[in-house]
Symmetry: C2
Subunit: 139 residues, 2 copies
């Protein structure tokens, strides 16, 4: 992965590169749905509070798959259902999302449950370990 030629990057800055990959609000909300809400299917993502349009959702899922942040698989118990799942590269976004949550909760009025914020703030490593454990168990 690291040796693949990247001709179209705006710059070599890691922040710029990261934003080219997931720097789209809808993409990060899909990552959130997979990471924290346990959602896995197209119809579940559509029902999220932000009401993503289905054409945008299709586009962003395809992009997230193309950049290696999500994978999809057919449900073994129902071949008509496709499940999405974060890759290792995708679950590695957890620390960044936790910091974004803490920033928003500090500076804006949000619906974040106080117990979750407390866990993120006071037991950050444990919180992240739990997120990763749930992800690994859902494989």
């Amino acid at each position: 992965m690291k040796d693949k030629l990247r001709v179209s990057r705006r710059s070599g800055c890691p922040i710029s590169i990261a934003l080219e990959i997931f720097g789209d609000a809808w993409s990060l909300l899909i990552v959130r749905d997979l990471m924290f809400k346990g959602l896995r299917t197209f119809s579940e993502f559509v029902c999220s509070d932000e009401k993503i349009a289905t054409n945008i959702l299709s586009d962003r899922l395809a992009r997230l798959e193309a950049v290696g942040i999500v994978t999809k698989a057919v449900d073994p118990s129902d071949a008509r259902r496709v499940h999405y799942r974060l890759t290792e590269k995708g679950i590695d976004l957890a620390p960044a999302l936790v910091e974004i949550v803490l920033w928003a909760a500090r500076h804006e009025r949000t619906d974040a449950p106080p117990s979750m914020l407390r866990a993120m703030r006071l037991h950050r490593e444990q919180f992240l370990a739990d997120v990763r454990k749930r992800w690994a168990e859902a494989a």
Copy 2:
């Protein structure tokens, strides 16, 4: 701030709210320029590697000011120069940007200096304290 009515939010989710505020690649690159590169003026931002268009830069600076992430002030030594500066709310984005840098450096090929990545990874709290110290001293 927290009590102000927010009628236009897509949802109360802290990640969604954060993305409505800075979830635009150009906005976060301006925050990066202010936070890590010590840039402060319009003409300095224009010269960043990603070559932001001047109309986009004007728009994003105005938006970042409107949401309380940057402030601007006239240079006391040259009244024709306007300087931008991160607010407390802006500098509080440092932990999120550090995690984004570490994620990109882990999964993509970037130009991030190895010494900086080492400092972020092994001495995260010290790195963040130094960022905040430089910000406070440049007031």
